[in-house]
């Protein structure tokens, strides 16, 4: 087995692993085709014989893949579901809960992590407002997970009832 073949095999494995980051709906439909396309393009790039061409090809593929994952994830999370009122309500609740979770959670968690350097014990921490921030953050986290999981179900329900 040549170095070229090994490069393709390992890059293919890596690409295949990254495909699992797509939303399930997209992954089930297109992952095998995308992997086949990656394989074809990798062979094309390797045929040109230069390692720099193959490296540039890999960088381009990773950039395309990551941007595409963000797009598809974004569509899954915050895209409208056929303008259905229930879906609109979920979207309305989802975005504030995610933002709340990120904003409220981050500060207290960092405080907890670095409490040795700030000399705050757990007991002292529980008496501070940061503790309530953590509680709100956890609630927001749970809510955002519930809303995220609820979206595909609502999408399916809207499609079936249409």
């Amino acid at each position: 087995m040549t170095v070229g073949h090994l490069s393709i095999e390992y890059s293919e494995r890596f690409y295949s692993a990254l495909l699992s980051l797509y939303p399930a709906r997209f992954r089930v439909r297109f992952a095998s085709e995308m992997l086949q396309l990656f394989r074809d393009c990798a062979h094309d790039a390797l045929e040109k014989g230069e390692i720099a061409v193959f490296a540039a090809f890999l960088v381009g593929m990773m950039r395309d893949l990551l941007l595409s994952i963000l797009r598809e994830r974004g569509k899954e999370w915050v895209g409208p579901i056929d303008g259905h009122p229930l879906a609109a309500l979920i979207d309305l609740l989802l975005i504030p809960t995610m933002v709340t979770m990120k904003l409220v959670f981050l500060g207290p968690v960092l405080t907890l992590l670095f409490r040795d350097s700030t000399r705050i014990s757990i007991d002292q921490f529980m008496m501070t407002s940061a503790f309530f921030s953590v509680a709100i953050g956890i609630l927001a986290l749970v809510a955002s997970i519930v809303f995220t999981r609820l979206r595909p179900t609502v999408r399916l329900w809207v499609k079936l009832s249409a």
Partner: protein, 128 residues
């Protein structure tokens, strides 16, 4: 015509799909010449655009996913010439709605070019 294509054609007017992105426009142009699989679409788009539009698998299948949902393209049920066929691949074709969308976008772009060419500045700077 597939169920998706029918749904798309009965629900939305052609203008609601415009403007198309350069990538989608090139994909539709490629499929207007006949059905093709992802690799063929990718190569043809690069050739047709002179290398200015390069589609990665993520961009290509993201676009195809939306085009399938809108009924602008459909998965081809008929396989091409068996000798040329690759059973691992899926082939895509332009639907009737897709043809109308492509024609409308071409007309829109032609109007834009006509409007731009009618301005003095563009006429003056036009290469000989």
């Amino acid at each position: 015509m597939t169920k998706q294509a029918k749904a798309g054609s009965s629900e939305k007017p052609v203008e609601s799909f415009l403007p198309l992105t350069p990538a989608v426009f090139h994909i539709l142009l490629t499929l207007a010449d006949g059905e093709a699989h992802g690799y063929a679409v990718m190569q043809e788009v690069t050739r047709r655009s002179g290398g200015s539009v390069r589609l990665g698998p993520g961009t290509l299948y993201g676009a195809i996913s939306r085009l399938l949902e809108d009924g602008i393209v459909a998965e081809s049920e008929e396989r091409p010439d068996p000798e040329m066929d690759d059973t691992r691949r899926r082939y895509y074709r332009l639907t009737q709605l897709g043809g109308r969308v492509l024609a409308a976008e071409t007309e829109r772009l032609a109007d834009l070019v006509r409007a731009a060419r009618s301005t003095k500045v563009v006429r003056k700077l036009r290469p000989a």
